[in-house]
């Protein structure tokens, strides 16, 4: 930011609110927003987010100490929680927390690719998040759109990652919905990594929609009620984009110990790991700790 912009920021911080509502200052505020938007566009298009150097082409990275390749999870689900708290702790605005979150996400995904984890599900936007302040939601959706159009597309092309978007996307702006369909189309042939983005997703709605689909089939006479089996039900869930619908490991950052309506049916036997680190601080060390904890667990599925 230039000195002039910093000066304007300082002035606006000390002027009382009733003056700010005057039209002259409203123009200045709009200018500030344009500056923010430009910075955001530069961030999304620019190379600063791309932390990998060009030598890493998606080949296998060495695993950290204590991890065994045979015991790596096949499907990891992550709840990216804590970006706003991270920003608040540092005296920043929530939006900057989200920007830091995107950086961490890039690093996380490249680790997943390097350690050969085939499927990664990310809980980006829950149906409960609609209750947040409007400006924040608008900014977040623009961030998603920019990431989908530029950053994630570049990532997928580089690493051969396929993207699927699940959840109720009808409430999102049309441009975002188009961007989602576009990236699904562009990346549908890649096979190295499958990225499932849960946007506007609610575990309970997923189950209800599956129930409704099955009920329609019963009504139409295609199916009898007694023929409803678990695998049939799972085919109707939104996670039917992949064969391995149940995550082996679910990581939730920021120390909250709940599922918050993410994968409910799918996480019946999932190992849960709750990390105290906030999402932007969730680096390689924390991820390795989560994997180490996963590998030490005895999974019996109730049978042994």
């Amino acid at each position: 930011m230039s000195i002039w912009q910093k000066f304007m920021l300082m002035i606006m911080a000390i002027i009382p609110r009733w003056i700010i509502s005057m039209p002259f200052f409203q123009n200045l505020i709009k200018k500030q927003e344009q500056v923010h938007r430009k910075a955001f566009e530069n961030m999304v298009l620019g190379q600063s987010l791309f932390q990998l150097n060009d030598t890493t082409t998606g080949d296998d990275k060495p695993l950290p100490k204590g991890l065994q390749r045979e015991l790596m999870p096949g499907h990891i689900a992550v709840i990216l929680d804590g970006s706003r708290r991270w920003a608040k702790k540092r005296g920043l605005i929530p939006i900057e927390g989200y920007q830091a979150g995107v950086t961490t996400l890039g690093a996380f995904l490249s680790l997943c690719r390097g350690w050969n984890i085939p499927i990664v599900s990310l809980f980006l936007f829950s149906s409960e998040n609609w209750g947040r302040p409007k400006e924040e939601i608008d900014y977040l959706l623009e961030l998603f759109e920019g990431s989908l159009k530029h950053y994630l597309l570049r990532y997928c092309n580089k690493f051969g990652a396929r993207i699927s978007v699940i959840g109720d996307t009808s409430a999102f702006p049309n441009s975002l919905q188009k961007a989602m369909k576009q990236i699904e189309e562009d990346t549908k042939d890649f096979t190295q990594l499958h990225l499932i983005l849960a946007m506007g997703y609610s575990g309970q709605s997923d189950i209800v929609h599956a129930c409704q689909n099955i009920a329609m089939k019963v009504k139409d006479g295609i199916l009898q009620p007694e023929d409803i089996t678990k695998s049939l039900f799972e085919e109707q869930l939104q996670t039917n984009v992949t064969n391995v619908q149940s995550p082996d490991l679910l990581i939730r950052t920021s120390g909250e110990i709940r599922i918050s309506n993410y994968y409910l049916w799918q996480s019946a036997y999932t190992e849960l790991y709750f990390s105290d680190a906030l999402w932007p601080d969730f680096g390689e060390a924390e991820f390795a700790k989560a994997l180490r904890s996963f590998q030490q667990r005895g999974r019996r599925y109730g049978k042994i």
Partner: protein, 312 residues
């Protein structure tokens, strides 16, 4: 094993049996002893302090760790499950003194049928015995006015266990102070599928009746509720009213002992927003301090949830 090791393991198991004996005594015979009364008064003071904040409506317990407990103290496997039952009655007592209205316990999963037949038979026999014990006059159920509800696919159980369960449900049907849901032959996925099947059958039957008198074509609505929405699709309320766990609201806290951090197909639908608490203690060793800690965590979380609600 050397002689010293044998001595130590013997004294450990003596100590363990002494603790178990004390717990059973506290429950049945020595209720009027000075120590148990003092303990009771101290507990009531503690619960009085806890009650200054919100108390959870519904706590769910996954009773994990009985077999590891018996291995740890070199007991028979069956003794581990019996100690687990004693721990359960103690926890129930504490929860009812704290005035928690709904408690759910995960007694036996449908996946557990795949265990060794001896173990399954032992567990069935133990459950039958303990369920019949619940109907007795001086059981904890009658002491605290608890209605017992068995959630799960009871058709998969042995005849004797199912009859005992139905008898217990009938005997406690008029109790209304609290509800104890015991999940036997239960998995959450089975519960949801069963709910879908029953909703489909219910809707299907309704449709067949309307069809037979020509009303399904939308010309006349004989169902009487004037609802012109698409009656052929099911909604959330249809599913929820056919769930085994419809007698209780969603759990506020789900406690899983032995340090494992997974849901194991328990209350998946209902625990979407519940706090999960996983102490590393084994189920037979669970005590008052774990319950207090869980409730304190719940109260802290409720504080933030209320604050967020006020902000929005």
């Amino acid at each position: 094993m050397s002689a010293l090791q044998i001595d130590i393991s013997w004294s450990f198991s003596l100590e363990v049996t002494a603790i178990q004996a004390y717990r059973t005594m506290d429950n049945k015979q020595n209720r009027n002893s000075i120590t148990s009364n003092l303990g009771h008064i101290a507990r009531r003071c503690l619960f009085g302090i806890l009650s200054m904040g919100p108390i959870p409506d519904h706590i769910a317990f996954i009773m994990d760790g009985n077999r590891r407990y018996s291995k740890k103290y070199n007991m028979d496997e069956g003794a581990g499950h019996k100690s687990g039952f004693i721990a359960l009655t103690t926890m129930l007592r504490y929860c009812y003194e704290l005035e928690v209205k709904y408690i759910t316990v995960y007694a036996f999963s449908i996946d557990n049928f795949k265990r060794r037949p001896e173990e399954v038979n032992f567990l069935m026999e133990l459950m039958r015995e303990k369920i019949e014990g619940l109907i007795e006059e001086d059981s904890i159920i009658n002491q605290y006015g608890v209605r017992v509800h068995f959630a799960g696919d009871l058709k998969l159980l042995d005849e004797s266990v199912r009859l005992a369960a139905e008898k217990a449900m009938a005997a406690s049907a008029c109790n209304s102070k609290a509800v104890l849901s015991i999940c036997i032959a239960y998995t959450s996925t089975n519960e949801i599928m069963n709910a879908v099947q029953q909703s489909c059958e219910e809707n299907w039957d309704e449709l067949r009746i309307l069809d037979s008198c020509g009303a399904a074509y939308g010309l006349t609505d004989y169902s009487g509720n004037g609802d012109t929405k698409d009656r052929k699709s099911i909604v959330v309320t249809d599913i929820e009213k056919h769930m085994y766990m419809k007698v209780a609201p969603n759990p506020d806290i789900v406690v899983r002992t032995s340090g494992e951090n997974r849901m194991s197909n328990f209350l998946l639908w209902q625990s979407a927003y519940s706090i999960l608490y996983s102490p590393s203690v084994l189920w037979p060793e669970i005590g008052l301090r774990h319950l207090v800690w869980a409730v304190l965590n719940f109260q802290r979380n409720e504080f933030f949830v209320q604050k967020k609600k006020k902000q929005h």
